[in-house]
Amino acid sequence: MTDPAMTDAPTVVPITDVVLETRGLTKSFRGFTAVRDLDFTVRRGTIHALIGPNGAGKTTVFNLLTKFLAPTSGHILHDGVDITAASPAAIARRGIGRSFQISATFPHLTALENVRVALQRRTPGRFHFWRPESTLAALNDRALALLAEVGLEARAQEPAGTLPYGAKKALEIATTLALDPDVLLLDEPLAGMGREDVARTAALIRRTAQKENGRRTVVMVEHNLGVVADLSDRITVLQRGEILAEGSYADIAADRAVREAYMGTGHA
């Protein structure tokens, strides 16, 4: 759990090993509260899984963290800085990269262009409308290397919209990695993938977290509990918008409340 002294700390704290933190985060949709008074802390360099039954509020938490939804109340801190008021694009530029539960790609761009457009963000060329596209060729090698990481190098020239679902998910991870993010938020990265792709992607997530001297952080929503057990340093179980339990996989597996919550929901 959080260091108790942190709870009453001033809004701007010195950079600690806490990379992401929510305080009293609440989101209501017309009276229905999807996330309730959430105090959620993620430590730098960890793989942190966020699990829970359908409708628990996991995706809503991701949308709040990246400002795709505005919180009803509460605060979000990244590196000790309050980012509650920042725009989604500004949050991404701070180094918080995300993927979406329903795969999000640019369907009319090729797989290569999908990744490249993420690499392009850091170049001044993003506003150059008078230059030929060929000026982007300098980014191709890096884009191809990222596609290779997710096993898509052979499909680089295919429009993303024509790829099968699992490949789209993989492409989305490659695109998110192209941002070279400090924190990676992955919403069900393995959903829709075949067994082989699941293994490869799980290995990639582990490798990714080890980059930057292990300072990179991954927060992952995932229903595949085998992979969660395998990869996660820490697990938070969400139910009806509140934290039901938190700890290592062993802690969680032994938790009575968690077992009850998962009973009859189809997940095991």
């Binding site: 990246t66 795709f68 725009s87 989604p88 694009a89 500004a90 991404a92 530029r93 990269g97 995300r98 979406f100 999000a104 790609t105 640019f106 369907p107 009319h108 761009l109 262009e113 999908n114 490249r116 457009v117 993420a118 392009q120 963000r121 170049t123 060329g125 993003r126 506003f127 150059h128 409308f129 008078w130 230059r131 030929p132 596209e133 000026t135 982007l136 695109t175 941002l179």
Partner: protein, 308 residues
């Protein structure tokens, strides 16, 4: 060297257009070319930014008025008058775009329509626009001091050069680093945001570029036809450019031009027939959209598997 299908077709089209004044009236060709550029500029927004503007007549007609006024009242030479009209359209695009860009979908279209209507009423009432008559008898002058725009064939080649340059500029924009981001925003706005792009800025840039080139088309038309009227700024003109673009094919470089030639051609063919022109054009349009969902050029491109 082997030419790409697009390059070869462009060269064929250029050759045809160079020879055309021997076969077709230059006045018809000039009108079609001005609308071709207008539609292509409009398509930058609809086809590559996914934004349906229903107020593009404001830029076409606004530039026409400014160009006509500059040439007639201030006595500017044609190239400066056109430039003035084009820049005025750019400024108008910035103002209208800034107000409209935050709205989504149909609300965006409604906002652009409302703003364009405001401009229409301004031009209807303002003293310098000539009210119902518009600005007539605009002096044509010599373009760059060389080309006599009073000579139909010479004027035609000048318009052809302007339209060709406009299309070239649009092609460059679409196939530029900025164009890549724009297409990404069109395809999936939320994803583009999550990659750190402030999407409104890219949409606004596209809006201004589109307005500028629409203005170039309008200013050119005012000068070669010596007139700027309310027809150029009214909402029917905004609708016409949507139809031309859909007819030719959204998101293809050549589609809007083809759509413009078809609809201007159809209009002039029917003008003397005594048929109800808008109804016939409407019927042709509906038939085309039903048969060719991607527009004429879009459909041909899809069949032949080439990007046109």
């Amino acid at each position: 060297m082997r030419l790409s299908p697009l390059t070869s077709l462009t060269l064929v089209a250029l050759a045809l257009l160079l020879a055309a004044p021997w076969v077709v009236y230059p006045a018809f060709l000039m009108k079609a070319l001005c609308f071709a550029l207008f539609a292509a500029a409009f398509n930058l927004l609809l086809g590559y930014a996914g934004l349906l503007s229903f107020g593009h007549a404001a830029f076409f007609g606004g530039a026409a008025y400014v160009t006509a006024h500059a040439a007639k009242v201030w006595g500017w030479p044609p190239e400066l008058a056109i430039l003035g009209g084009t820049l005025a359209a750019a400024a108008l695009g910035l103002a209208m775009g800034a107000l409209a860009i935050r709205r989504q979908g149909i609300y965006f279209a409604m906002t652009t329509l409302a703003l364009a209507q405001m401009l229409f009423f301004l031009f209807l009432q303002a003293p310098f626009t000539g009210g119902e008559d518009g600005i007539q008898g605009v002096p044509q002058g010599r373009l760059l001091g060389l080309i006599d725009l009073g000579q139909p064939t010479d004027a035609y080649y000048a318009v052809l050069a302007i339209a060709a340059l406009g299309h070239l500029a649009l092609y460059r924009i679409v196939h530029s680093p900025f164009g890549q981001v724009l297409k990404a925003v069109r395809d999936n706005e939320a994803r583009a945001r999550s990659l750190g792009y402030e999407v409104d800025r890219y949409k606004l840039t596209a809006f201004v570029l589109s307005a500028t080139l629409a203005g170039l088309a309008g200013g050119t038309k005012a000068l070669v036809f010596q007139i700027a009227t309310l027809t150029d700024v009214q909402w029917q003109m905004s609708g016409e450019v949507v139809l031309m673009t859909l007819l030719g094919g959204i998101g293809t470089v050549a589609g809007p031009a083809v759509g413009a030639f078809l609809s201007v051609g159809l209009e002039s063919a029917l003008a003397t027939s005594g048929l109800p022109v808008p109804a016939v054009i409407g019927a042709v349009f509906i038939a085309c959209v039903l048969v060719f969902r991607r527009g004429l050029v879009g459909e041909i491109g899809a069949r032949l598997k080439i990007r046109l």
